[in-house]
């Protein structure tokens, strides 16, 4: 069964801005799905429509077979949403935010309190349960938004840039928890600007730009499209000139830093063999750019060029 089916979804705002232009999207139950796109691509509008915060102009949305127009209450009960921006009463204590949310989903207060405790403990916020929201750090507020979105146990969790502005340690712990949720059966849709995050967490993804889905595929197939990867090498000794490493394209960044392009036909082993033959010792190596980031930019560029060509015609 599909967790989410979006067909021909369109949204034109009152100011005439066409944010979505016939979006079709399917997310399988149990998937960890990434929704990527540049700023203003339509990601938040799409999520807004699915979660009933934005009214659609055209199209259809179904969640686990329930139609958003016909079965709105069932659809909402199946969805949990973590919005991009903080949206809670800053003067309420942490626990109350979660308990209130449970109440809005029809969960009786005793059960709501038990669930609030469970999720606040899970997200390391239980010690702060009586603290007013405004006194929490950004990372804590992000985690609280996840607890709030989970309190009614949704089957589809939508996270709109959940780790924005969160330090790396908390981000990693949030990733672990999201993986755990997904392994327990919760379908997750994630939008993020950290493509490393998408590559690490998602099995499938869609790229949206100019209000249209430009690509929808699984992460492994997308990464397989990558023809070359660029590595940055830090060298032990200074180079006087650019060496010749049979078949590898090199670029000289500074005296002790090289950039090397490795194509799909070549290998890192081959690169190191060539470096050794030339007596070049490498201290460290890193990707110049995240692999998914590279593909993402390629796809977006291709889509934009396509749109320009169409426009010219």
């Amino acid at each position: 069964m599909s967790a989410l089916v979006v067909q021909g979804l369109g949204k034109t705002y009152r100011n005439g801005l066409r944010a979505l232009d016939g979006v079709d999207l399917t997310v399988a139950a149990g998937d960890f799905f990434g929704l990527l796109g540049p700023n203003g691509a339509g990601k938040s509008t799409l999520i807004g429509i699915i979660t009933s915060l934005v009214t659609k102009t055209t199209g259809r949305v179904r969640v686990f077979g329930y139609d958003l127009d016909r079965d709105r209450e069932q659809v909402k009960a199946l969805l949990g949403v973590v919005p991009q921006e903080f949206n809670f009463n800053l003067f309420l204590p942490v626990a109350e935010v979660v308990i209130n949310q449970a109440g809005y989903f029809g969960i009786a207060r005793r059960e709501a309190c038990a669930r609030a405790e469970f999720y606040l403990r899970k997200l390391d916020l239980w010690e702060r349960r009586n603290t007013e929201m405004r006194l929490l750090s950004g990372g804590m507020k992000r985690r609280l938004m996840i607890a709030r979105a989970l309190v009614h146990r949704p089957r589809l969790l939508i996270l709109d840039e959940p780790t924005a502005g969160v330090d790396i340690e908390i981000r990693r712990s949030m990733w672990d928890y999201l993986r755990e949720l997904n392994a327990e059966g919760t379908t997750i849709i994630l939008t993020t600007h950290y493509l490393e995050e998408a590559e690490s967490l998602c099995r499938h993804l869609a790229i949206i730009d100019h209000g249209r889905i430009q690509a929808q595929t699984d992460v492994a197939s997308l990464l397989a499209e990558l023809n070359t990867e660029t590595f940055v090498l830090n060298l032990r000794e200074r180079l006087t000139g650019l060496p010749t490493l049979g078949g590898f394209v090199l670029d000289h960044i500074d005296d002790s830093t090289l950039e090397v392009q490795v194509s799909r036909e070549q290998s890192i082993n081959g690169l190191f063999a060539a470096l050794s033959r030339n007596g070049i010792e490498v201290l460290s190596l890193r990707n110049k750019q995240n692999r998914l980031e590279r593909l993402f930019l390629d796809r977006v560029d291709r889509a934009r060029n396509g749109a320009l060509t169409e426009g010219a015609e």
């Binding site: 009933s52 915060l53 209450e73 029809g106 327990e184």
Partner: protein, 281 residues
Amino acid sequence: MSPASAERALRQQTAVAAPSAALPPRWTRYRVTFLALWYKEMLRFLRIWVQTLLPAVITTTLYFLIFGQLIGARIGHMEGLDYIDFIVPGLVLMAVITNSYSNVVSSFYSSKFSRYVEELLVSPAPDWIILAGYVAGGVTRGLLVGAMVMLVALAFTDLQVHSIAITMLVVFLTALLFALGGFINAVFANSFDDITVVPTFILTPLTYLGGVFYSITLLPEFWQQVSLANPILYMVNAFRYGLLGVSDIPLAIAFGLILGFILVLSILSLVLLRRGVGIKS
């Protein structure tokens, strides 16, 4: 199969047996949601009681002291009643109107401004439950403040209630009507200034001119007719009838008007919520 793809496949299999988000039975859910919202609204104004409950008590104490005891003693009687007794219903109702209105307008507008209204919009709560929850909060504050003002009044005068049923019904319906008004004001408000315009420039003048401090029979014929266009006059007089048994207005007309306004404002509020005016893009 590589370990990574095996793990992936296992996860996908696990995912098929997804936990269900069991929805409680409809009416149980509605009841719980309404109570949660109502409770939240009550906690909101109780937490800040110095701002929400105390001012009305202090203001009306001053009214009773100055208009009731000091000036009222020189005025003598109105409609056959001691002046201080005559102004009690109007002052109680004025507090009810102001508080039920301002509770809903400030609470709902704050939830729009800080965007936590989205907590409700993403939930399966139907529009009428959202409206009922906010309005119940406003009515509760209005009635609570009304009761406190009545207690203050009893410190200044000895009232014999003419009809408890009519008194309770009028005060409840008035609180309901102005809570609905506050909700509509909040829906259209785009700034904190917008939520003070109606209370300051419309409600306060209408209340003062609504027969709180005088009987309209004292006015010239023309101004009596003008006063009849003021809906608050009907509520004050219906309440005065409930408390003291005197009124400038027939009771049936007052009730008809209040109920009519409640019906119109309820429908308008629900239409606005359904269309997402001011809360959805």
